[in-house]
């Protein structure tokens, strides 16, 4: 949420850049890959076998709906993996 209105009064955080399907997306150090994607306004990124979109469902690493490919390695839970500056993320399409 907007840090100026945030009741937890966040301090400064360092920016990072992640390449998602070829485009640069800005995030904050300490965010998960899912956090970066959601904060950038993306709700879904994986496509199931039948072609349906999926994103975060459980948020705690159980449902595996949010799998992404990170730096060429497939099947990483976006909600569990902390994003690192310069990470290359590609979305997975099983259709």
């Amino acid at each position: 949420m907007n840090p100026r209105q945030d009741p937890v009064r966040p301090g400064p955080a360092s920016p990072i850049t992640v390449i998602v399907d070829g485009s640069a997306v800005r995030g904050l150090a300490g965010q998960t890959v899912a956090g970066v994607l959601l904060a950038a306004g993306r709700l879904a990124w994986r496509t199931t076998r039948s072609g349906r979109p999926r994103g975060v469902f459980c948020g705690i690493g159980v449902c595996h709906d949010c799998l992404v490919t990170v730096n060429g390695l497939a099947d990483v839970r976006a909600c569990q993996r902390r994003a690192a500056d310069g990470d290359t993320v590609s979305t997975e399409d099983e259709a």
């Binding site: 497939a74 099947d75 099983e94």
Partner: protein, 386 residues
């Protein structure tokens, strides 16, 4: 005629189908649910590539013919049994292995197996290019073994068989010196014949019925990867597979069998180890299986494994199935001991048992599978450690 089949695994299912189609009244009993034992705990390779000339190969070749011919029976009423004739590629990774593999293939050709030396990379572009020989076996096929079991049972039911789940065989019903049925947790079930097809538990069931049968479990563990774009097109094995199947060694052995399934996952098998009915999954076994698979397909290193599972291959000391009547107890029949090939061999096993029981001429040499064959006879007495 009424026949009681003990065990609703793939062997019991194939027998039930065969007999029911021949008009026999069949009841299948299983202490658990159908397709809940070994037939749901392994892979569904229908292989000839791993078998040398002999009785087992004849049974396997006949089985492949039967698998093809029964497909229409299960085509529309069932989820697909995932029958695929994708062929097997056996790969050697050492010079000695290459020589042994070529010699083995030469022998197999004399017995009706198609085997062609090929450039492995033409068949599997992601194969380790450092391999030393590759032989392609076009007859090798696969099914999904649990669905295949259920499909065979469904055909049997359509022909009047009944399948009773949750019914455990506890002991014999006898009339004079004949077996006339079985006592079960669900009451007595009588029959003119009783066929024990209880997989690795067949020895225990036989003992309950009053005879010794040396069937023992041989543990196997398999890894399942996440779904991926298909990069493995055939069934691919390392040539060590050929050695491990016939080996008597109790210690852990592994040889790679790598195949992709209709669901998109890759199955990586498997280990062989004699350790009773010990179900534990151990890191050392998983590591050994994984290491072998990477020798074939280095790209798999980054692939995620999501499950490990395993079962117990039913084996007998001379590594041949036991199919036929038990001369020690009239009315008792066996169909077991298929070790790592029970899925492929189930169809011809059902047919052979039907031939013998119904007095038809067997289409494969039956003596090799007889209970009292010379190589098994010494093992039919209770061993002192039991």
């Amino acid at each position: 005629m009424k026949v009681v089949v003990v065990g609703a695994g793939i062997v019991g299912a194939a027998i039930a189908r065969e007999l029911a189609m021949a008009g026999v009244s069949v009841v299948v009993l299983d202490r658990s649910a159908s397709a809940g034992g070994t037939s749901a705990a392994g892979e569904g390779n229908l292989l000839v590539s791993d078998k040398g000339p002999g009785a087992e190969l004849s049974l396997a070749l006949r089985s492949l013919t039967l698998w093809r011919s029964l497909l229409p029976e299960v085509a529309d009423t069932f989820p697909s049994i995932e029958y695929e004739t994708k062929g097997g590629l056996v790969v050697a990774t050492t010079d000695a292995g290459a020589a042994a593999l070529r010699a083995f293939a030469d022998l197999q050709r004399t017995a009706g197996v198609s085997a062609a030396e090929v450039d492995g990379l033409d068949y599997e572009p992601d194969l380790n290019s450092a391999h030393t020989a590759a032989i392609f076996y076009p007859q090798d096929a696969q099914v999904q073994p649990a669905i295949a079991t259920e499909a065979l049972l469904a055909v049997a039911r359509r022909h009047g068989a009944s399948v009773r789940q949750g019914v455990e065989v506890l002991g014999p019903l006898r009339g004079g010196d004949r077996l006339t049925g079985v006592a079960t947790s669900g009451g007595d079930v009588s029959g003119d014949h009783v066929v024990v097809a209880a997989g690795p538990w067949s020895g225990e069931v036989a003992r309950r019925l009053g005879v010794e049968l040396p069937v023992r479990p041989r543990r196997g563990t398999i890894l399942v990867t996440t779904r991926m774009r298909q990069r493995i097109r055939h069934k691919v094995y390392d040539a060590d597979y050929v050695g491990a199947v016939g080996s008597d060694d109790a210690a852990l052995q592994t040889s790679s069998v790598v195949e992709s399934t209709a669901a998109g996952t890759v199955l990586i098998g498997s280990s062989r180890e004699r350790r009773g009915f010990d179900e534990r999954i151990e890191a050392r076994v998983l590591s050994a299986v994984a290491a072998k698979a990477l020798v074939l397909f280095p790209f798999l290193a980054g692939v995620a494994v999501m499950r490990a599972y395993g079962g117990f291959r039913p084996f007998v000391p001379d590594h041949l199935p036991v199919i036929g009547p038990d001369p020690r107890l009239p009315g008792l029949w066996h169909a077991t001991g298929h070790e790592g090939a029970g899925i492929v061999l189930s169809t011809a096993t059902g047919e052979l048992l039907g031939d013998l029981l119904l007095g038809r001429a067997p289409r494969v040499p039956a003596e090799a599978f007889a209970v009292d064959r010379p190589t098994l006879r010494p093992h039919l007495e209770p061993s002192p450690d039991q």
